[in-house]
Every structure is written in C-alpha cells, then in structure tokens.
Amino acid sequence: MSRHKLVKSLDLDDELEDYDGGDDYGDEDGESYGTENLRLGTIKVRELLPQGSGHINDKQIQEALWHYYYDVDKSVAYLRKEYMAKPKKEQKKATGGSRSSFQPHMHERRVGPFSFSDFFKDMPWLNVPKDRQAVFIAPLYPRGGLLGGSSDDAPKMSKLQALAAARKKKAQEQKLNGASGMERPMAELSLSDRANCSADKIESPMATSTMKQSSRGFPLRKRKNSDPHEIPAKPVSRMEQMSNSDDNANTALLSLELDQAEPSAFASTMFNSKDRSSPRPSPDDVVIAAQSKGVLKTTGEKKTDQITANVEALKVDDTRRATSKNLDVLKEFEKVAKKNEANFVVIGHVDAGKSTLMGRLLYDLKVVDQRTIDRYRRDAEKMGKSSFALAWVLDQGTEERSRGVTIDIAVNKFSTDKTNFTILDAPGHQDFIPNMIAGASQADFAVLVIDASTGAFESGLRGQTKEHALLVRSMGVSRIIIAVNKLETVSWSQERFDEISQQVSAFLSSAGFQPKNIAFIPCSGLHGDNIVRRSTEPALTSWYSGSTLVEELDKSEPVTRALDKPLRITIGDIFRGGVQNPLSVSGRIESGSLQVGDALLTQPATQKCFIKALEVDSEPADWAVAGQNVTLHLSDIDPIHLKIGDLLCSPSSPIINIKEFKAKVLAFEFLTPMQIDVHRGRLHTTGKIREISSLLDKVTGATAGKKRPRIVKPGQLARVIVELETAAPLEPPGRVVLRSNGATVAAGLLE
C-alpha cells in the first residue's frame, strides 16, 4: 500500500482528537515510576519467556505487563498464549480500554509508592481473571475516565463500549503499522546530532515550521516533546532506543516512543494545511523568502523547495528524493583539515610524451601496480607499440590505444605528503584542442612537456607547444613547470637543455608568465629519470642537481576557492552511473558549494533537478565545495535536457543565457568580423564577431587608436562583440577562447 494512500485514508479529526487527549496526561512525575516498572518488568519477562520468543517485541511485552499490572508471570503466560501460538492475532486481542495502553504518560494514576509486580510477586493466586484485578485497583486510585468517564479499564466496559473501543484501537494500530516502516528518531538521540549541527541552527521561520509539521499529525506523540531540531536521516533501531532509555531514566517517555520517521514531504504539506496552531506562509512565499536569502541555503528553503515541487507535480511517485542534511557546507569544509588540493594540466605538442610521463609518474608512485603495467606492456607489444605501455595508464579509450594518441582529457589522482593532486592529461593533437581547453579550464597550474629530441622541439614550438602555453595563460594559469622530456635521446646534453630553456622562457615571458613562476626540469618519461626518483645518469647529474618533477609539483601553493560565490558547475561528462543512478554528471565546481538534496538549475535548458547523491573524487560524500571534482547523481530530470558543456547553477542565483556578449580579448591571429567557435571549458558553441568595438592599450587597458578598427593584428588587445548562434550560459568574468578554422584566434574575458 502506498504511503500516500495511508495518508489519504487517515481520519484527521480522529487523530487530532486523540492527540488532545494524550496531552492531558502529560505529568512527568508519574511517568518515571511507571516506566521504571515497565522496564524492569520487561527484562524479567524476557528472562522467563521460552526460546523462540524472539519475535515478541518490547512493545508487546510492555503492553502485556501493563495489562497485568506488572505481573510478570501473568504477562509471560499471556504472551506465550498469544504470540507463540498464533502471533498474527495480536492486534485483535488488544482490549479496548488499552487503546493507548503502552503510552506510559497516561498511566500516572495508578503509580503509587509501591510496585504491584513486586508486591504480588510469586503469589500463586495471581491467575485471577482480569475483571477481578481491575476491581482490586479501582478504589485505590480513582481517575478521570479516559473513555466516557469510566473509572477503570476494559473490564468495566459494556460489551458495546468494548467493541467500539476495540475497533478504534484496531484502526489506530493499522495506521501505526503503516507508519512503522519509517522510524521516528528520539529527541534524546538527536541531542548528539544537535550538538553537531548547532552550527547549522539558523533559526528561520521556515525551520521552525518544518519542525512543527513533523510533530503535527502524529497524534501519539506528546507535543511537549516535539524536537525542534532537524531529524537525522539515519533510522534509529528499536534496540538502540531501549538501551538509551536504560541510560537515562529521566527520558522514560522515549523508551516507548513510536517508530516514526519524519513525514514525507507530501504528508507534511497535507498536514500543514490543517495546522491551525501556527499559520505558516504559503509554500510560494517561503520559496520567495528563501530565494531572497541568497546562496547560503537554510533548512527551510530546501524543504519548501521539495514540498512545492512535490505539490506541483502531485504525481504518485514512491521513490523518495534524497533529503538534505542541511549542513552548513562552508563550516563543514572548514572543519575538515584537508591536505592541499591541486589540479594541474599536462600540455605540450603531440607526441611530446605527456601521457607517458604521467603514466611513469603514477607507476613510480605506486598508484598503478606492476601487474597492470605488465599487462599494458604485453598488449602494447602485440600492437607493435611497446613504448606506449606507460601512456596506456591514461589513454584508456580503444581508439586512443589503437592510434597511439590521446584524444580526450584523462583524469587521474595521486597524492604526496603535502598535496592531493589531480592530473588532467590533455591531448596534444591540434584537432582535440577543444578537449584540451576543457581540461585546462579546471587546472590550477600547468606542466608543459617538451620533446627535447632533435627537430621535435622546434616543430613543437611552432605547433601546439606555443598554442597550449598561450591557452593556459589566457585561461588564468600563472604557474608553469616545463618538463624537458626525452633528454636521453640527446644523451643528456646540457647545451640542448639550456637552449630549450632559453627559447621557451623567452617565449613564456612574452606570453605573460612571470619568471619566478617558470621552472625547468630535465627528465625522461620513458625511463623515469627525475620524475619521482632522482636521476642516476652521470651525464645528467654532472650538471643538474635540482628538484625532480614531483618535488617541483609539491611546491605548488594552495589555491583560493570561490566558496561564497553562487554555485556554478560546467558539466564535463554525462553518463549512466549505474542502475541506481540512471543519470550522473561530473565536473569541477567552479564556485560555490552544494550538498545532497539541493535543487539545481541546468542552463541553457532551464530545467530544475535535484542532487540525489554525490561523489567527491569517487568517494560518496554529503557535500562538496568549489575546486573539487564531483560526480552528481541527479533526479527529476530527463537526460535530453542535458548536454556536455551545460552549466549547473543554484536556482536562487541562476546564470542567464545570453545571445551576445562583449569581451576583452587578446588576439593570437588576425581578427575581423568573422565566424568563430566559442569555448569555455567544455562549453563549445558557435557565433561570430559582430563588431570590433575598439583596440585597447595593452598596459593601461584604455581605448587606443581608431574606433571600430577594420582588423585586429596578432598580439593586440581589443574589445569585441560576439554574437552567438544559440544562447549560452555565460557570465562575466568568464574566460572564453575564440577559435576559427582549427586555430586559436583570441582569448579573453567577458565584460
């Protein structure tokens, strides 16, 4: 039976009536006595019960005990009779008067200075019929009648009364059973949570209302007890509840707490509408209020987001959306003392040995085991490309292996003592520069690999060595490490190394790299010299004693993250994360933070979706912040709305799709009004330069020369207006790369 149906069939008035009734008896003093007795009794009964009584739960024992006024023997007999023989009849057997009999707070009337179970212990005559027992007690502790003023329980009721009560009880129990799938955490347990999350206690009106709704509609709970804090997502087992109540006699009430989870979003909405005690803002108001609050999400926003979304959809959907834990992600992030994290992109001309170098690095750091390498080596030899074995660590695609070139960015991780690194191994081939741009946009610094062998360096410098270096610089990378690779082919010649260093540093400083941010390392990817281990080649050690590549990487300084900016993620990949997660996306969080349960907006499709689960660096996590590479498992969205290069943002501060933008660009080639490809990370769209507004002075940035020049020459800075073919999510200060006919023509900043 679906839970929605249960909710529908719930008799609200009935429930509310009961609820009020329960409140009258909330006398704390008496409770502890009764509960203490109950607890002791339960233990005794457990001892006496024969084997195989495991299915009898504490609730049932307590109920029996209550019936027999803590007479252990009688209870045991009753339980054996009832549950061991035909456990299914338990519900029907419950007597009418004990409608709420296992609620200790209703029992204070008969709690006296002594315990009945102790008093009449071991008495042989205890097998008295129920009615006589009741008579026994009545004069001692007159009480206000629960049902029609009757001074006692079941025995005194007329048959008709009993029948009515029994029916009522049955109905109630059914409801409870329906709800028992979810468990209600106890206030006591959430105390610890409360401590944890005290940071999170931004007491918004929404937050309180959320609590109200959870206390509402579950009439058997005491109102006093409603825990004004959030509900932990983890269910609490019955056994835990019991042991906890042992520890704390004061919270006796809790030991008998019913198993209830927080109501489903749907249920909460249903009940909220009936909530007379606290007039709440409409969900719409709440959403608006929450949105105005900005990025930092509060409890209320998410809850109401979900509620409104659910109400809008109103479709029967039994799969529950992941509930937000409402963490203050930034605080959480501060708490976690993490190692430095750094992403670096490996760039260079095609066949400079980028993948092999990184394969060697991973192998030497034992990230990849010997067996895998041996397998690659065997397979590579079979294809007649034995030197590619190390590159195969990163080149996993079948086409990449058969053709021996990297096509797409490969992402790998390794860590040193100081830092966790993410390698982004970029393709060197000219055709795959869009992929390289995607990788470089995620990088904090770059490793430029240069082929030192004769002729290769020269052709590389004309080719992608130059283009890549310019690209990473224009994408905001300021630190670059140059790995002069394949130096063994020129017998570790120092002259060659110096020549390369000279030319490259001259070029790099003209590209805008500061000399202190440039480092040169002579190395050999194929043999592993100066990568992780220091080279032992006498030809090299005679003139080089500087740091190895890994040592140089370790010098990287931690990067600042745009944590408090609105959330932005460019989708790098869309895939099927498995049966549980039919739609997963991955990417790097550019700014902001997120957590499970958050609503996201996808652009340019403008579709809302929710984070069902998320992984940070392939480990499940509850939250993530800017700078991390995450995999998001999404719900409530169709895959056709997403494509690689789309942007995810928070619905409260969305990014706008624009059709035209103004940008300040540095020209690498001649610019005229022309058709261009616009790249921003994975985003790849087309457009045209509609107008060249003005040339700019390189130093001051002020307008220089003619207005609306005809042409922009390479190296000049200009302001251009770009018109896109289709609207794309771009915003200042985004860095864009403009390409045309397979060449990078300009790169710059949106204005």
Binding site: D431, F575, R576, I644, Q675, R708
Partner: protein
Amino acid sequence: MRLIKQNIERDGSGTITLFPEEPEDMWHAYNLIAPTDLLRASAIRRVTTESSTGSTSSTRVHITLLIQVTSIDFDPQAGQLHVSGRVAEENKWVKVGAYHTLDLELQRNFTLEKSEGWDSVSLDVVREAVKEDKEGTVPAVVMQEGLANICLITEHQTVLKQRIETSIPRKRSGRAGEHDKALTRFYQVTLETLLRHVDITQPRPLLLASPGFTAAGFQKYIIDEATRTGNKALLSNKSNFVVVHSSSGHLHSLNEVLKSPEVLAKLKDTKYARETRLMDEFMALLRKDDGKAWYGPSEVEKAVEKGAVGRGGGVLLISNALFRSQEIGTRKRWVTLVDKVKEGGGDARVLSSDHESGKRLEGLGGIAAILTFPLEDLDEEDEATPDQIDHTPVV
C-alpha cells in the same frame, strides 16, 4: 529553370516567363522576385458564393492571378517559396486589392514584371538560373563526436538538412566501453538520417568531414554496415566517400572542407569552390593590411568611386542578400555599384548568401573589395556616422 518567354524593352520594362524545374529554382525565384513586382502565376483560391436564398457555398477554383508582391517567404529546406501580395487584376472570382499568397509550384509557369524595370543584376540572376550545365549537388556530413550536420551543397545554396546531436560519455578510467557504444549509436543515427535525406548510392562525392577520426570512423561504419546488409549499390559507390579534415563539426567548418585538396580535386571549378577561393584571397590580402583589401559598405563605395576596383585584378564581392533588400533605394544603390565596377573593367561577383563563403562575407557587412592599387584611410571620416545597411536577415 527554363526561360519560356522574354519580353523586355530597351528601358528595362517588360516581363519574363519562367518555368521552374527543380527546388533550386525556387532559390533563384526568391532572389528575383522583390516587393512591388508584379507576379502572375496559377493559384488555387477558395471562393465563397452566396445564393439568392442567402445560403453560402465555398468552392476551390484554379485561376491565374496577377499580384503585386508585398512579401516573400522562402523555406530553403523544403525549397518552397510563398509570395504574398494584393491582386492587381480583376477576374470573375477575385476583386482587385484582395490579398492572396501564391505558392510557386514546380513545373508551372510564372510571369514576372519588375516594377523598377529589369536591371543588370536581375538579368544576371535569370541568366544564372536558366544555365544548362548544372553542377551537381554534393551531400556533406560535417561532424565531430556527438554532433553531425547533414547538408547539401548545391550550386547556389548550402542547405542544412538535419542536425544530429547525441550525448557521448567522455572517457573515464575503466569505462571505455560506454564511450565506444555511444559512438557506434551516434554513427548509426547519423547514417539512418543521412539515408533518409540523401541518396548516397548515386555516383557523386559524399563529403565526410570532422576533426580527429570521427569521419574516418563513420566511413568505416557505413562500409561495414553495407557489407553486413549486403548493400551492393552502396559498396560499389564507396570510392566516392571522401573523408576530409575540418576543425569542428559546426557547419561553418565547411569552408575548410571546400578548400581541402581532396575536395578541390573532385569539385574544382564549381561555383562555390570559386567563391570560397575568392573569400580566402580577400582574407589573405586583408591580413597583409596594405590597403588593398577593404570591407564595409561605405569603404567599398568610396574605393569604387576612386576607381580602385577596376581593370587588372579589382574584384567586388557582394552578397546577394543585399539585393533582396525590401527598400528599392538600397537595392538600386548596390546595383549601381555593380554596374560601375563592371564598366570600369573590374570583376563583380555576387556571392550566394546561402553558402559558407557568403556567410563569411556577410560578417564583413555583405560587401568587400580587392583593389587594384592600395588606398589608405577609407574609413577615416566615416567615424561619426556608422554605416547602416539594411539587408533582410537571411534564412
């Protein structure tokens, strides 16, 4: 298109009757027909008649209508031309001034009378349209991983038939299979779509262009599929599948395709190859920045005035979108310019706005010129009044 009848006076007035034979002819008609022209063509009109008792009945009648054109709507993908206007000649069914939209049909004559008379440019269009030695249509697929544009390159147009976009998962460690599977699915969809739009068994080139190995992979997929299904017609045509390099899968990469030696070898002297070459020549000169290449309406006009676009290498490049201007004056301005260049012995090339080269030209304002001698600072005094040209957006 066939020229049925030409009746043009010295002063340019008169009529021409044309007989369109293929969809491409609609493109010519689109360039020929301008607002305020008089167009006579057959039409189907619903006519409502009222009987003496007051009951109405409507019938559809085939009639020939003469309308004065108010607007033109061209659908390049379907090759349909809708011309709307007001009826200019009364007949039994329709009153003068009633509105009607003529759908020009293939294999049916239409007669056109230009309101401003037949100028040189429009006569050129007619000449071009009725030319006998037609260059064939070349289908092309410009693609990259996850994106394919299927288009037809005809003599005067590049028609985008279908754009295919699928999401292909990127490579991730241990999941190479997913990427390959998605890629095969992408090839499959592309081939199915291609077969729906184009008959690739015809003995003519099929251009497959992409960066990287996508096009080569697709070619292999086509041949593999043909072998698997035993499609002999396709297999025998496989030598015509040309794999060309392009820098991206977007349609504007087509200019690289048309420049490539593989394509030039096959389609050397087609009109679009010439146009592409001209544009490249212009761009190369512009890069030199020696004052011999200028773009933009006012600059080019000035250059023409100074006689720089003349004998011995002067070329005027003008997009035919400019001639489709709704304003009579604007059109006249460009026609005069073309005539002037021709008088001076220069070469005036009207580039099709529906080709890639025409699109590039359009980015430059629709007009450019290669001069015979360098001129400097044509744009100097122009700064205060940025030039506004009125040209209708190109479909």
